[in-house]
Subunit: 176 residues, 2 copies
DNA sequence: TACTACGTTTAGTAAATACTAAACGTAGTA
DNA sequence: TACTACGTTTAGTATTTACTAAACGTAGTA
């Protein structure tokens, strides 16, 4: 017996929901993206409600978040008050957008706080015992430079005009 | 007025807690790692309780999780029943360990589910309308190949014997 | 002006998560 | 054997998060 389209879509939606949750996004976001990704034409908010099983409020919130990440695009039609959404199909583009988004917000703040600790140490703060001081300085410095490397990596990727199979392939060769 | 060591450490601990939470780990894990990272000598569970402010239970759980990720190392001393922990200082090593860990668990399961959807589609499931069928096939295939690229990337990194500044630098040059 | 068809916001809720406090298990020691 | 000093497990709790249901605001239309 062969699975019907409806069931197949449902499985796909659940798969993407899981992936979404895994990466720290609401499950609903994954589900909505999945629905849009499997739709040949843009869908209205009400159609999303219908196909995702979420309520209007949740769809409104989640689809807006998706749009902010550049994973979906909103469009309108003349003489039609509805908004329509469609999925971005260039995933590499999306990765860049997500990295860019993530860079601001809390991550940056936390990393900045480590940087500040370092600055204070370098300015001579906390000098109780010279040996301990040197130790702290060395450790915090090492962490800071690691963060800097990560940060360069992320911002390099998000600044990229094109990132695709080719780039990934090249990187894979280096890592080999 | 210059900040004292205690305050400095506290700020650092809070910073790492935030970073931990940002990446989807418990805040306590970040805090414990921070405490260990700033300690010149291995610490016992009770010392961790004292310095982190968490309870024994929480420390026990979180420090074990850190050990599983390879972010801290457990050791014992002769004629001493206590366990001692110290921080891993090679962050690149830790990144590999974390990626390896993450690859199993839920992420893999979710990705596998997408793969399965593709298999079913290729086997001819869900064939209501030929045009729709072709469309679905194309989309799911594209997503699948993207996941495969990601997966290769992650496992290449986690298989790496050495990953450090050098490698990151090389990659940055390519991305430039 | 009132009406309708939208999207958004809000107040409340259910579920997940990481914690605390305390019971528990266990291995060494007298 | 009982006692002590550990780490672990468990039961309960507080907090966060993403959701639902419904009120709300608003722009077009008669």
């Amino acid at each position: 017996m062969t699975t019907d389209t409806q069931t197949l879509k449902q499985e796909f939606i659940e798969g993407l929901s899981g992936i979404s949750a895994f990466w720290g996004f609401p499950k609903g976001m994954g589900a909505l993206f999945a629905v849009l990704y499997l739709s040949p034409n843009p869908l209205s908010l009400d159609e999303l409600v219908e196909q995702s099983g979420l309520t209007k409020g949740a769809v409104s919130t989640n689809v807006r978040a998706l749009a902010r990440l550049g994973l979906v695009h909103r469009s309108t039609r003349l003489g039609d008050r509805k908004d329509y959404y469609e999925a971005e199909t260039d995933f590499y583009k999306s990765v860049r957008a997500i990295l860019k988004e993530r860079q601001n917000t809390e991550f940056d703040r936390a990393v900045a706080s480590v940087k500040e600790t370092l600055s204070k140490l370098e300015a001579g703060a906390g000098s109780s015992d010279p040996a301990e001081q040197a130790f702290l300085l060395e450790r915090v410095r090492a962490l800071q430079s690691f963060f800097e490397a990560l940060d360069s990596l992320f911002s390099a990727i998000s600044r990229l005009d094109s990132l695709g199979f080719g780039t990934v392939q090249t990187i894979l060769n280096i890592l080999k």
